[in-house]
């Protein structure tokens, strides 16, 4: 069953400054939603609020609601750690743990309670396969993850996020620090993964948004300007500002 996942009147403040302004939007199942907009428009902040990573920033404050499966994620009573176990996240710069390739993947599942060595082996293999990395690393699982190339590290981070079977995957410019070949692989990966989970991706690259996403949301100055199917947004935007941004007139 697809779980409803949406925000309602969500605002985020850093001190007095309102970085994200009253955003209500939903993320349909089995689809990729791209968040686009010029730098500083609040799209990354918005993304980071979806698994409450903003809590870690001193002085940040959130109002409104994030609904997941009938539960309000923003409620102070919500167990943030359990919540994050269901929402995976990958950053712009790959951040593998200072551990072996195997340990990077097995760490999460083991923490969640899978102790059986064989089961862990299976999880490691299937996660690495999903991230299209298995063939490259299957013979060197015991080596340090930091010995991988940047593109491989990024796919390892995706595999790490997938290892705990999240329902939602948040990607913060996952390909912007990678070379074109690695970027292609990551994009391919995103298209394949959307059959299993909801993906929300922040990107600065219009072509990328057009290629990988089903829905696109355009952010400007902390507001959600326009949100709809990617085809519509890119070919027939209703707002002048959206069109200007997509056409590369600013940003």
């Amino acid at each position: 069953m697809a779980l409803p996942f949406s925000t309602e009147d969500l605002s985020i403040y850093y001190g007095e400054y309102q970085a994200v302004k009253n955003i209500s939007m939903s993320f349909p199942a089995q689809s990729v939603t791209a968040l686009i907009g010029p730098s500083g428009c609040g799209k990354s902040t918005f993304l980071r609020s979806l698994n409450r990573m903003n809590d870690e920033i001193a002085g940040s404050r959130t109002t409104g609601h994030i609904w997941m499966d009938g539960i309000d994620l923003t409620a102070s009573s919500t167990d943030v750690i359990k919540l994050r176990q269901r929402i995976g996240m990958v950053w712009q710069r790959p951040n593998p743990f200072f551990k072996s390739i195997y340990e990077n993947i097995a760490f999460g599942p083991r923490y969640y309670g899978t102790k059986n060595r064989k089961q862990l082996d299976e999880i490691v293999e299937s996660s690495l396969r999903k991230a299209a990395l298995w063939d490259e690393v299957k013979d060197r699982l015991k080596e340090s993850a930091l010995s991988l190339s940047g593109g491989q590290q990024q796919r390892l981070c995706i595999a790490r996020a997938l290892s705990v079977t999240p329902q939602i995957l948040l990607l913060d410019e996952p390909a912007s620090a990678l070379d074109p070949v690695s970027t292609g692989k990551v994009e391919e990966l995103i298209s394949e993964l959307k059959d299993e989970l909801r993906i929300v991706i922040v990107t600065h690259n219009m072509q990328q948004a057009a290629r990988v996403s089903n829905y696109t949301a355009y952010f400007y100055l902390g507001k959600l300007m326009e949100h709809g199917e990617t085809d519509t947004i890119f070919t027939n935007p209703t707002q002048q500002s959206t069109q200007d941004y997509i056409m590369g007139r600013f940003g």
Binding site: G70, I71, S77, T78, D79, I81, K82, L83
Partner: protein
């Protein structure tokens, strides 16, 4: 919906049951807090015990503050004992100031040499060497003083060799690495552009150092000097070994003298806990502690200036 007949708390528990991550976070929080509480308890008890023992000389034994701080006659074992600690207070300040006077110019030169004249060599070879020297135990410096400095002074300068001058020399050698490494860190952390701007204006290296570099790092240099002085003021054994340990205010650098630390070192084993003689030593420890506060205060003030 279906959750309407359960309380929010129950619903929450059903959705997110109590789990090990909460237990773990409790363990972490409690463990680290206990360590911090221990740290605070230690300092509070040190301050409390040293203060209460140190004050006892005046409050319980009735020695007057005037006698202790201004009296020059230290004779606790006599029939009518006297407790003038001025010679030791003077001794401590004299060796500390002398050591700082000798060590500061040398250390700052060494730091300038390391960072401004041969930066790469300085960083690779000299910095580790200086760090190594700052780890040499103080009794070794005391032994060096006893077997090199004292004979040298005796043969080439005069007197017994032991005395306030020898103490100051030993301490200055001991604090050289301290001041040098603080100064070198400060110099190395200056933005490169600062020097280049000066050179671009046609200034010579010395002009750059004198007019641009030194004024900028002055608070940090002073911090290093004060740190060195704090170390010198509190050092016990190295000084005690070479200063001669006679209880009077010296009139020349070659004369034997005492410091607060050397008197404590020698006296603590020979006096009974709780006796007036013993309490008088605690009063000196109190003076040492108060001076520590003063040094920390000065360093804090300098650091604040450094940030501005």
């Amino acid at each position: 919906m279906e959750q309407s007949n359960t309380t929010p708390r129950e619903a929450r528990r059903r959705a997110w049951p109590m789990e090990k991550h909460r237990v773990e976070d409790w363990i972490g929080r409690i463990y680290t807090s206990i360590c911090v509480v221990f740290l605070i308890a230690v300092i509070i008890s040190i301050v409390y015990f040293v203060t209460s023992k140190g004050v006892a000389t005046f409050a319980v034994n009735g020695v007057s503050l005037k006698e202790f701080f201004l009296g020059t006659n230290w004779n606790p074992q006599a029939d009518t004992p006297s407790f003038g600690a001025l010679p030791f207070i003077t001794g401590s300040f004299m060796v500390t100031l002398l050591a700082a006077l000798i060590a500061s110019p040398l250390s700052i030169s060494a730091a300038l040499f390391m960072t401004e004249i041969v930066p790469s060599f300085g960083k690779r070879i000299l910095q580790p060497a200086i760090e190594l020297l700052s780890g040499i135990p103080s009794v070794v410096y005391g032994f060096i003083g006893l077997s090199v400095i004292v004979p040298f002074l005796r043969e080439h300068v005069g007197g017994q060799g032991i005395g306030i001058g020898a103490g100051a020399l030993v301490l200055s050698i001991m604090i050289l690495p301290t001041i040098t490494s603080v100064a070198a860190d400060a110099l190395a952390s200056l933005p490169r552009g600062l020097r280049e701007a000066s050179y671009a204006l046609g200034a010579t290296r010395w002009q750059t150092i004198y007019r641009v570099v030194l004024p900028t790092v002055m608070p940090a240099l002073l911090t290093g000097i004060v740190l060195g002085m704090a170390r010198a003021f509190g050092e016990a054994l190295a000084v005690q070994m070479v200063i001669g340990n006679s209880p009077h205010i010296p009139t020349s650098l070659l004369e034997s003298a005492s410091t607060l630390t050397s008197v404590i070192t020698l006296g603590m084993g020979n006096t009974a806990m709780g006796s007036i003689q013993n309490n008088a030593l605690w009063s000196m420890a109190l003076v040492l502690m108060l001076m520590t506060f003063v040094f920390v205060l000065i360093i804090r003030l300098l650091e604040r200036r450094n940030r501005l």
